[in-house]
């Protein structure tokens, strides 16, 4: 029997038909999926419902309909769940007047976990040992993100929920955090890492759950999601000095579904952007056209996801 890609075999978190609405606004709609050990990327454009889903999983937000269970228990009813579950929220949920070390120690004391890690050890893990003696109020966004991760890790959680943890981090810090998440996932912990950037999620996790407009858009391996996205019809704008000649030649290419001359350029509709990208320079050379721009239009993550939702 093939398992629905939205579900995993040994779930630590189960979301069954969960909906959340605020008055008339539906934030999450009949969402069903599960998460297990390892890193899962929660992908979706801004406003897709990622944060609401994570808040429902962590028990901060009630479920209007359906159910959410973490380690077999309802996080809204069983506060004991929080011995094993930690949320790193997107917002700056830090005490500006505390030093980084005090903040991580406070987190450790509040959780009183018997397996709590040493504060210094965790600070080292997120490379915050040096600035840990300074007050958090003076930290950059990236440092705040890392100190929040440290405060979560010190409790030695089995389930770690991270809402846009890479926001504000520089490429080096991002690389280190991604490596850290990978190691934690390999240790058998359940990590959910949300992001609106596909490339970020791709680096962090093997499995992706994508949501749009509060609905499940796609789930499964990154490769499977990518393959789905390759089928999407793209519109590409090409600026050239010989639009007529290039348009006529490109129309012969199997990658071009439609060709229009507009605003002095070419507007090509394609369902295989890779082939079109490969063919265009060759065709341009053949008709002696000079290309000054080649840019896909409407290639935002939102439009890609919307396509996936409409298709699902």
């Amino acid at each position: 029997m093939t398992l629905d890609p939205a579900f995993v075999e040994e779930p630590t978190i189960e979301v069954i038909g969960a909906s959340k609405w605020y008055g008339q606004k539906v934030a999450v709609s009949k969402l069903s999926c599960s998460f297990g050990p390892g890193v899962t990327g929660l992908l979706g454009p801004n406003g897709a419902g990622k944060t609401t889903l994570l808040r429902m999983i962590s028990g901060l937000t009630s479920v209007s309909h359906g159910s959410v269970s973490v380690l077999g228990r309802d996080p809204r009813r069983h506060h004991d769940v929080f011995r094993s579950v930690t949320l790193v929220p997107d917002e700056d949920a830090v005490y500006g007047a505390m030093t980084g070390r005090e903040f991580v120690k406070y987190s450790s004391d509040l959780s009183n976990s018997p397996t709590a890690l040493l504060v210094d050890e965790v600070l080292e893990l997120v490379e915050m040992s040096e600035p840990a003696g300074r007050v958090i109020g003076g930290y950059s966004k990236g440092m705040r993100q890392r100190i929040k991760v440290a405060a979560a890790l010190v409790t030695d959680p089995k389930v770690l929920i991270l809402d846009e943890p890479l926001n504000g981090t520089d490429p080096i810090q991002r690389g280190h955090l991604i490596d850290l998440f990978e190691r934690l996932g390999n240790d058998g912990r359940t990590l959910i890492v949300s992001s609106h950037v596909l490339e970020e999620v791709e680096r962090v996790s093997d499995r992706v759950v994508a949501i749009v407009d509060g609905r499940l858009a796609a789930a499964g391996s990154v490769e499977a999601i990518r393959a789905s996205m390759n089928d999407i019809p793209y519109v590409v704008m090409i600026n050239t000095d010989r639009p007529r000649e290039l348009g006529a030649a490109l129309f012969e290419s199997p990658a071009a579904v439609g060709v229009e001359i507009r605003d002095g350029g070419l507007r090509i509709t394609t369902d295989d952007i890779t082939t079109l990208g490969r063919d265009t320079p060759r065709v341009a050379e053949a008709v002696q056209a000079r290309i000054t721009a080649f840019r896909p239009l409407d290639q935002s993550l939102e439009s890609v996801f919307r396509y996936l939702v409409e298709r699902s």
């Binding site: 901060l60 506060h79 930690t86 949920a93 830090v94 500006g96 004391d109 509040l110 405060a151």
Partner: protein, 248 residues
């Protein structure tokens, strides 16, 4: 106990940042200043009347509630505003324990500041006129009134950003306005409950104090009981809201 201790210490620390502590403590010196100026040439009996008057109208009716309202409202209000509530709530701590700890910490912090007013006023009287019960009476009355105000404003601060304005409106319009005219409403006035406890403990203070108490009887034990009941109710209410409401 470790999580509760950590939460308590942090809550007291949040309630008493240095600048705010200094400012509120200075406000607490107003009653002793007014008392000293108004009793320069008085004998003990007249001084006691002056003490009761200053204690009731300045200390109990103004400075004590202001401090308690500010600190009570900000206890959960600041955590909500700074979005740190999720950080502390998502811990293996019962909501009731969490609420009780926050209220207790805010009460302790507010009482510590209000003690500046109570002790300075009480000691100024005792040093000059020699009645140590005045200090004790002020300590009990101020502590009880502070506790009631804080207990009422902690859940209010969780509910709304306008908790301070609402509580100050209650103090100024209801307690210091309507309850003066409609004396039956005085029983719902926390600062009058504090004066009631103070007047019950200090010999000779009752007759003057009664002028400020309206329909409220003089009794320290009832005041303390109301403070304890209010604390319990506020704890349950806050815990229930933490359970039911979606948290920021």
């Amino acid at each position: 106990m470790k999580p509760i201790k950590a939460l308590f210490v942090m809550s007291v620390r949040q309630a008493l940042p240095l600048r705010r502590t200094i400012m509120l403590s200075l406000i607490q010196l107003a009653p002793v200043g007014i008392f000293t100026l108004s009793t320069a040439n008085r004998i003990e009996e007249a001084a006691l009347d002056a003490l009761v008057g200053v204690a009731a109208t300045v200390l109990f009716a103004l400075t004590v509630p202001v401090v308690a309202i500010v600190l009570g409202s900000s206890s959960l209000g600041v955590e909500r505003r700074d979005q740190t509530l999720s950080f502390v709530v998502l811990r293996p701590i019962r909501r009731t324990t969490f609420a009780a700890t926050k209220i207790l910490a805010a009460t302790l912090a507010a009482t510590a500041i209000n003690m500046v007013g109570a002790l300075s006023l009480g000691l100024a009287f005792t040093i000059r006129f020699g009645d140590p019960l005045v200090v004790w009476g002020l300590v009990v009355g101020v502590s009880a009134a502070t506790s009631i105000y804080v207990s009422a404003t902690v859940p209010l601060g969780f509910l709304t950003d306008r908790a301070v304005i609402i509580a100050m409106a209650f103090l100024l319009v209801f307690e210091n306005g309507a309850a003066l005219v409609l004396t039956g409403l005085a029983t719902l006035s926390p600062w009058r409950l504090g004066v009631s406890a103070f007047a019950d403990i200090v010999d000779g203070a009752a007759s003057t104090a009664q002028n400020y108490l309206g329909a409220l009887d003089i009794s320290w034990s009832r005041t303390v009981l109301i403070a304890i009941v209010t604390f319990g109710l506020a704890t349950m209410l806050t815990a229930q809201m933490l359970r039911r409401r979606d948290l920021a």
